[in-house]
Symmetry: C2
Subunit: 470 residues, 2 copies
């Protein structure tokens, strides 16, 4: 493990630095040439692609269809909803010149698409028969970030943004809640192996223009919080601003109720921060671009390594062969640990003589086991399931261990230096949020005492979860 | 068919107008709010998604990995390759302000990513062991279009752009050629049912900065040409501009050879223009979001329609139920014809009494057949295969019938008013290209007499295909 320590900062000494180091060394991403932008390298993109597929499948199962709206939005659109313009103005990138000329009206690079989608919803929706209108788009978005951080907060990010219109407030709320649970929570828990805390944002933490923002918060390795996905009830705010109306079944013209919901490349950052350790990434098998690497220790085991890889691939595993026998064995092994590949199979001449392979599992530290070749496939398939479950169990145990119930804002300030605090929101209030904010601490979300989601009207008797965040 | 004629221009009277009408009426896309941009509606996006999946699978099979590079590129990058800057300068959209301030260096919205990817290739490639580097990205790009047209030439378009670096010119050429044949041509022929003519562009039609541009050209319903995908050998032009070098196996520093290749949402436009007829779209079953619609004629057949749809879905077909029994039957039928759904199953009370369904196939005009319910699934599965094959056969027959071999530029000018002309490039030359250009006609591509692709050095003895184009 010595070699590993030399390339990464340790989590305990400098977690943000460790995060930056592991992204570079595992070849997940690089900084882009324009400040705050990101180049996602194939290994990082391979993880994102699998997340995309998992999200997309569930979004479609919820009934939404994919569409695509333009990147460039007339500046005037952003101004139509008062809170929205206030929330986004400082973050906009603006195209003022195009085709060799100054534009008559500047176009903003979309920071999010509520406004342009609102314009088209108004056009497409005539009657209650056209509702609900359930749209999703996979796209890039740009928000000029003052303190960019790879994957977590980049000037340009990739995401899906869902936008829906409904006939009633109840339908809108039910759909926004369904997305939070059936799409986001399901992917985070069952694909990314990340336990998440669902809740409602406080007024000050709401999305610009929303009447209610629901969130899922994950605990990072250093006990902070990371917002993993949000689903917003927009009430009739955007319907009013863009005139999204419909004829009801009794012939009355009414305004629609809209929602929006998004999840981004930040999820990859969450995966790194929740599961990684001092040796590097630990990638959940379900999203791992490479689940098993077969490392030929010497030239004479390369062909056997390839044969074994083919067998494992045939059983549905994602397998890579490392045949770089001209490079030091230790460096290659450490590199696969850094990349967080769940299993490394080492194949030396003595292994082959014994009809066995040496198996190193990323979650088991430096211990290795010997597996007979006929058992290798079944052992690997079982390892994938076990590791996926163990990552979720480990992260859940940490979240429980580092969440402390307290009863005052002072105690919350203390606890939130190393973990999460929970306390009655009635003793926090908006004044308490101001006090917490001065220490860089926020209310991550509010829950009812039974753990369910409050509506935007619930104000009393809620539990607040309080933490520092990325 | 009377109802249909009233909503669409006919192809014979005004093909471009027909194209615009069918896009609107079939709900494929709308114009965006910023001039030249496009909103892709769910039906249009559903076709694009299937094309994406087909391309992505083949791109990965060719060995390339997906990655993502930033949307915003420092203006100075574009200037580094002389022909590239000249080719793209008039089309750039420029971000001058962001985060509430004027930027020190303006950033262009990528018109294509050769420059920024070149910068990172230079960083990532050290030795011959790092080659070939085979990257692809799915992204949007912006080129300010003077004469925008939905799907064909939009200010913002969606595409994949592949970028590769190789140790030798031969490797680069072989890979660029492989992409043209194994990825693009295969998808166009076997997924989109569109026959394409492969060839090399003339010098004047080359991509800005390329030493050779290979293309696939399709014939539209009105006998024009549409460029469907291109693959470029960039020689060492970008390697020189961005210093993409490597240490060869004998320790010499050499410049890499790069390629790029792209296919865009224009492919959806090609599908419309090649297969559509006066009644609307005809969507190839392989990419059809809906392959079969089960139309309940009356309320009392809705539940049977749903049951039949479930059975067809279980056999792997993509099926929709039309239960809008409160709307006129004729309008619903015409609407599904407009959308080009391959098969419409009509279910009325008398059909159910006879244990049959009435089947209307989009490729067979107004004739309908009666199919017994037990035979319905197998009939539908066979219809999908037959229709996919027939669309390709029809388009191939047209391309052959409307391509005429001529021997002079004058004859080519005449023929190209209604179809394609082929003639020896030796009798055209750059002077002939100038003459053709004055009549809005271009050399679409050059082939060797045996139909194979010329290299960039082949100049004599080539066949030129000459046409008007979209």
């Amino acid at each position: 493990m010595t070699a590993t320590r030399s390339v990464l900062a340790t989590q305990a000494t400098d977690f943000p630095r460790w995060f930056q180091d592991v992204i570079a060394k595992a070849e997940l991403a690089d900084n882009g040439p324009v400040r705050g932008t990101m180049v996602i390298r194939p290994y990082g993109y391979g993880i994102w692609e699998r997340l995309q597929a998992a999200l997309d499948e569930r979004i479609k199962a919820a009934g939404a269809a994919n569409a695509y709206f333009p990147l460039l939005i007339p500046e005037s659109y952003l101004r139509r909803e008062a809170e929205h313009v206030e929330g986004f103005s400082p973050e906009l990138a603006v195209v003022t010149h195009a085709g060799g000329k100054q534009l008559e009206e500047p176009a903003v690079v979309r920071p999010t698409s509520e406004t342009v989608i609102g314009e088209y919803m108004a056009k497409w929706i005539q009657s209650y028969r056209d509702l609900p209108l359930l749209l999703n788009q996979w796209a890039n978005a740009v928000r000029w970030e003052l303190r960019p951080r790879l994957f977590l907060r980049t000037t340009e990010f990739l995401w899906q943004e869902g936008h829906t219109a409904h006939a009633t407030a109840e339908d809108a709320r039910a759909f926004a809640t369904r997305i939070l649970h059936d799409v986001y929570r399901d992917v985070m828990v069952n694909v990314l192996a990340i336990p998440v805390l669902p809740g409602r944002k406080t007024r000050r933490e709401r999305f610009a223009g929303a009447i209610n923002t629901m969130t899922l918060e994950a605990m990072t390795g250093d006990g902070k919080a990371l917002q993993m996905g949000t689903s917003h009830e927009l009430g009739q705010n955007f319907a009013r601003a863009f005139d999204i109306g419909f004829l009801s079944s009794d012939g009355q013209r009414e305004l629609a109720w809209t929602t929006s919901w998004g999840s981004t490349t930040r999820l990859v950052g969450g995966m790194i921060m929740v599961h990684g350790d001092d040796a590097g990434l630990r990638v959940p098998p379900v999203v791992a671009p490479t689940q098993v690497v077969v490392l030929a220790v010497r030239d004479e085991t390369v062909s056997a390594a390839r044969r074994i890889a083919d067998e494992l691939t045939a059983s549905g595993l994602r397998v890579e062969v490392d045949d770089r026998t001209d490079q030091p064995f230790g460096r290659r092994a450490v590199n696969w640990e850094l990349k967080g590949v769940p299993v490394r199979i080492e194949l030396g001449p003595r292994d082959l003589d014994g009809n066995v392979a040496t198996v190193a599992r990323r979650l088991r530290g430096s211990g290795k086991e010997t597996v007979s070749l006929p058992d290798l496939t079944s052992t690997m398939v079982a390892a994938m399931q076990a590791d996926q479950a163990q990552l979720l169990a480990d992260a859940t145990a940490r979240q429980i261990a580092r969440t402390t119930a307290v009863s005052t804002v002072d105690e919350a300030l203390e606890v939130a230096t190393t973990g999460w605090a929970s306390l009655p929101y009635d003793v926090v209030g908006e004044d308490g949020e101001d006090r917490l904010a001065t220490a860089g601490i926020t209310v991550r979300c509010l829950q009812r005492p039974d753990g369910t989601l409050p509506t935007e009207d619930d104000e009393r008797g809620l539990t607040a979860f309080v933490a520092r965040s990325y």
